[in-house]
Subunit: 194 residues, 2 copies
DNA sequence: TGTTACCTAACGACCGTTAGGAAGGTGATT
DNA sequence: AATCACCTTCCTAACGGTCGTTAGGTAACA
């Protein structure tokens, strides 16, 4: 179905050129239809962008949740640290992350409210997921320095966002350099091990 | 001089709408001239954007260096931690930072090389500045856990970038929440104090 | 018969850019 | 001292292009 192709291609183009820079002409051509045919599936550029955002957030949330579920039996540090490596290995998906970061940080002005309404629940649910993970895991491992799990989760998310942004922008090498610099410090800061 | 006005107004518009979304028409109107008059000062939109980037990086580097010079006699933690507060108070005009982040993360495709050529030295010089700061200060305070100052500086820069990005995007309140979550962990991770 | 998914053609608006000229100041030449 | 050429800075007018969008039609299919 062309509707789904349009959505995926749009994410690609919006990620690369931004809302203003992406061209419906080019998106249509890549999908193999003419520009006005887009309007058979979406009300317009705004609608396409909003639906792309909704899809991207839902998909990314699903992937993150899957990772942390699948590593449930690993030690906490391995699960948290391995997340970065897992993210790299899903190389193809950094288009999704790039789209999300761009739409989050620099949304088109007129859609700012709609973006906020979508991103806040997304981020909150990630925050909750991580908080629960830290709390449950610490109950058995007793490894975290502080029991303020919510705060620790937020710190982890901040560092993750910073390094993943680096990955999206500067590539794998710069990312590895940062990760190797920042992770020992962060883990030493949040765990009991000294 | 209109040339300088054009530069500053451009930074404002590029920060708000991106390269593709910014309009020479609107920039000219805000400065009080007609659109084609821009060409008396700059060769075109590209030239304007590149000169704006050069100016913004030079200016931001100057401000950062000034802060760390002025806090030279403070304890290291105070100087590093206070940087965030200083950024909020001194940079109520966070437009400069917003422009820099946007131009760094999502440059116009055709200017990607020129952007990289400008941003790498900028980031490297910040990295060097911080590395020297940590080394010199640790010589007297003996407070850092590791003597890999370059790595510690990179970790600090990563966290700073992540939280400052949060400030630019989500505002002061979300920024404070993150800063309070992440700083105790990072400082505990990089210092000897347990 | 009605709906879905595509098409061609074309709309008005805006884009960055160029041509060409007016006004004013500067500096050298007469 | 007066004239001249020249440069800078602005202007109006207009260029070719691309933008998102709409109108209206066609073919397939339920």
């Amino acid at each position: 179905m062309k509707a789904q192709q349009l959505l995926l291609t749009s994410i690609h183009h919006f990620a690369a050129h931004g809302y203003e820079g992406a061209s419906l002409q080019e998106i249509a051509t890549e999908v193999g239809i003419k520009k006005p045919s887009i309007y058979a599936h979406y009300k317009g550029k705004d609608d396409l962008f909003l639906q792309a955002t909704t899809y991207a957030l839902q998909e990314q949330k699903r992937r993150f949740a899957t990772y942390f579920t699948n590593t449930r039996q690993q030690p906490l540090e391995q699960s948290l640290h391995g997340f970065f490596d897992w993210f790299i290995s899903e190389q193809q998906d950094d288009i999704l992350m790039r789209f999300i970061l761009r739409a989050a940080y620099f949304p088109p002005e007129k859609l700012e409210q709609e973006m906020t309404d979508r991103f806040n629940p997304f981020f909150d649910s990630l925050h909750d997921l991580l908080t629960r993970l830290l709390r449950e895991r610490d109950r058995t491992e007793q490894i975290l320095y502080s029991t303020n799990y919510k705060s620790a989760a937020l710190a982890y998310l901040t560092v993750a966002e910073g390094t993943l942004t680096e990955l999206v922008y500067n590539g794998v090498d710069a990312f590895h350099a940062r990760q190797q610099a920042v992770w020992p410090i962060v883990w030493r800061g949040m765990s009991k091990t000294i």
